[in-house]
């Protein structure tokens, strides 16, 4: 009954990889230190080459997206293969609002988040009846429907107006935010806005993960039936968790679109969702901070290697090597080195030996 094992594994994992508490005191300190470093690194990067700040903003936005996915996937055990839908929905909401109503960040960003929540609530409500990989495929299906609707500008067709989503061209020329008179045309200011929002989001989600609500989610991941027997409404918890996750994905969209000045259907395509899952796995799922590193690393590599002709081969090789030699991702590597730096090297050697043995059969 192999078919069951993977459904079980995706639906509920038996091994808890990080203990009960997300981020110990030391971990919190490390995260705070990391954010502080980023805050200092911004102006330095800017003075070397303004482009670096542009890249840093992109890395932060995808870190936020990966964080939102890890909350539902790594922490609650629900594999979403449609997170691009919430990302895109938030992005398009921001674009439309800025074009038609106001560019005030205080209005647009919360709206982008709300649109992410609502989109996720709808997709989640429709998808939770299935479990495991079937849940993932349902989220994919609804996300792709939204993608096609955006690509063909279905809303405009239905409402019989000239244009709403702008079809395959998308919406171009989206203005930057207005907030307390700060000039966001200076990339460095936008960088600080993004960094602040990402830091707040991480703090909020870590808090939520460690709250009683988060405990129930963890329980659902470990053993769904048991939680159900304890009297919790598992479906409702799943939908709420999915909506929260979607809210942060929408927020990421709201940060991304004005920065790029375009909202295009590509944001909603399944390849974005797929790449997000890869970012979470590479970073180390269930740790919340690991996937953020994974996302940052992938965005960075894609940009840096983009000029190299065979960059896809290099990126692919990295994924393959990580799975074989560092199955818990970047977070697992960092934890292992922190716990016992000397043993880490031995472990690596042992992993290589085991691998060669297994290949020989």
């Amino acid at each position: 009954m192999k078919a069951k094992t993977i459904l079980d594994v995706i639906g509920q994992r038996t091994t808890s990889q990080t203990g009960n508490q997300i981020l110990s005191k030391r971990g919190r300190l490390a995260v705070a230190l990391g954010i502080g470093t980023l805050a200092v690194a911004g102006p330095i990067a800017y003075s070397i080459q303004p482009f670096w700040v542009y890249l840093l903003v992109q890395m932060l936005v995808f870190a936020l997206l990966a964080l939102s996915l890890d909350f539902i996937f790594g922490y609650a055990g629900l594999l979403s293969f449609g997170h691009a839908a919430m990302f895109g929905a938030g992005g398009y909401a921001a674009a439309l609002l800025i074009r038609e109503v106001t560019a005030s960040a205080l209005v647009v960003l919360p709206t982008a988040m709300l649109v992410g929540v609502l989109t996720a609530a709808l997709i989640g409500w429709l998808s939770v009846r299935a479990r495991g990989i079937y849940f993932a495929m349902l989220t994919l299906a609804f996300a792709q429907m939204i993608y096609v609707a955006t690509f063909t500008d279905l809303p405009a067709m239905i409402l019989d107006t000239a244009m709403i989503t702008g079809g395959d061209n998308g919406l171009i020329g989206i203005q930057l935010y207005e907030l307390f008179g700060i000039d966001f045309r200076n990339r460095l200011n936008y960088y600080y806005l993004t960094l602040g929002i990402v830091a707040l989001s991480l703090a909020g989600l870590v808090r939520l993960a460690n709250s009683p609500f988060g405990r129930v989610l963890q329980g659902i991941r470990e053993n769904e039936e048991r939680i159900e027997f304890l009297g919790y409404n598992v479906r409702r918890y799943k939908i709420i968790a999915f909506s929260i996750s979607g809210g942060f994905a929408g927020l990421a969209g709201g940060l991304y679109v004005p920065f790029q000045s375009v909202a295009e259907p590509g944001l909603l395509h399944w390849t974005v969702s797929g790449e997000l899952v890869v970012m979470v796995l590479l970073g180390g799922m269930g740790t919340l901070w690991g996937p953020m590193l994974g996302a940052g690393l992938i965005v960075f590599l894609e940009d840096r290697l983009g000029g190299v002709e065979s960059w896809e081969i290099i990126l692919g090789s990295i994924f393959v090597a990580v799975v074989i030699f560092a199955p818990r991702g970047l977070a697992g590597m960092i934890i292992a080195v922190r716990n016992d730096p000397r043993a880490a090297l031995d472990n690596a050697k042992r992993a290589l030996r085991n691998y060669l043995q297994e290949v020989r059969g």
Binding site: K2, T5, I6, L126, M137, M145, G316, V320
Partner: protein
């Protein structure tokens, strides 16, 4: 009117049968190895490229159809032995990351070797032209694809359902430890299944490389369609994959007739509808194959 319907139905069945070649491999690999093979689309693409290389250097479509799937099979052996075999007891989620890695590696290698431009495998001269029955005509090549893939699916069906090898495969999927205890090398069966899936995908790549174009994006284009088929049919279900592939083929061709821009939506509406009513797919969980 009737002519259009017949033509569309034939197109749909032909496309569905080729999709079945891809989906069969995907579902067997899932059912037995418990691996969600994201590289399956890349293997299909590789088949098309190998086919193009053989056909354009040796000038024979038939040699391409014979050799290209075998080359893809060799790549399949490498992937299975070097990466999947040591990792079967790992969390299956990591197989997604692993095979995704291979998918982009293969895509990158193809772009590196043959560039990003679209290619086309030349149609064999013997299958050029159309078949005309009364006022109805139909391209010979498409008819050939229809017949060949239907025959092949039929043979696989018989092999899986009736032959000793099929019994061994289904037994390994059902309880690999028991089969191992009976003195059969399950890891060889696993390699065999993976390679078999790869060869089928490569074969489909050559077949469709004539009627559709050959390009580096075709792998990622087909993989989601193949997943949708496998999921609607019920993960791991052989029968389900074939029925659903046919259904999807027909939905695509008739969908294109009704509203060509929305065909992709039909696919996902169908999957969502099926999964809402039957959360384990049409043939899921009730069948061991």
């Amino acid at each position: 009117m009737v002519e259009t319907i017949v033509r569309t139905a034939l197109l749909g069945i032909q496309y569905g049968m080729t999709l079945a070649l891809i989906a069969t491999g995907l579902t067997l690999i899932f059912g037995m190895l418990d691996v969600i093979n994201f590289a399956h689309g890349a293997l299909y693409m590789l088949g098309a490229y190998f086919g193009w290389v053989v056909a354009s250097t040796l000038g024979s479509f038939w040699l391409a159809l014979l050799l290209a799937p075998l080359f893809v099979g060799v790549v399949g052996v490498a992937i299975e032995v070097l990466s999947l075999r040591p990792l079967y007891d790992r969390n299956p989620l990591y197989h997604i990351l692993l095979t995704f890695g291979f998918a982009i590696m293969i895509q990158g290698a193809v772009v590196e070797l043959w560039g990003g431009q679209t290619k086309q495998i030349a149609e064999p001269a013997s299958l050029a032209g159309t078949l005309t029955i009364g006022s109805f005509d139909y391209p010979m090549y498409r008819l050939f694809v229809l017949v060949v893939s239907t025959l092949l699916i039929g043979v696989i069906w018989l092999a899986v359902e009736r032959s000793d090898l099929g019994i061994l495969m289904r037994a390994s999927a059902h309880d690999s430890e028991m089969v191992d205890a009976l003195g059969i090398d399950v890891s060889k069966v696993f390699t065999g299944v993976f390679v078999f899936g790869a060869v089928l995908a490569g074969f489909a790549g050559v077949l469709l490389g004539v009627s559709r174009s050959v390009n580096p994006g075709m792998g990622f284009g087909i993989i989601i369609e193949a997943f949708v088929i496998v999921v609607i049919g019920g993960l791991g279900s052989f029968r389900g994959a074939i029925y659903t592939a046919l259904l999807i083929g027909l939905v695509s061709s008739f969908g294109a007739l009704v509203a060509s821009t929305l065909t992709e939506i039909f696919l996902f509406v169908l999957m969502a509808g099926v999964l809402m009513v039957r959360p384990n797919g049409l043939f899921g969980a009730t069948e061991a194959t």
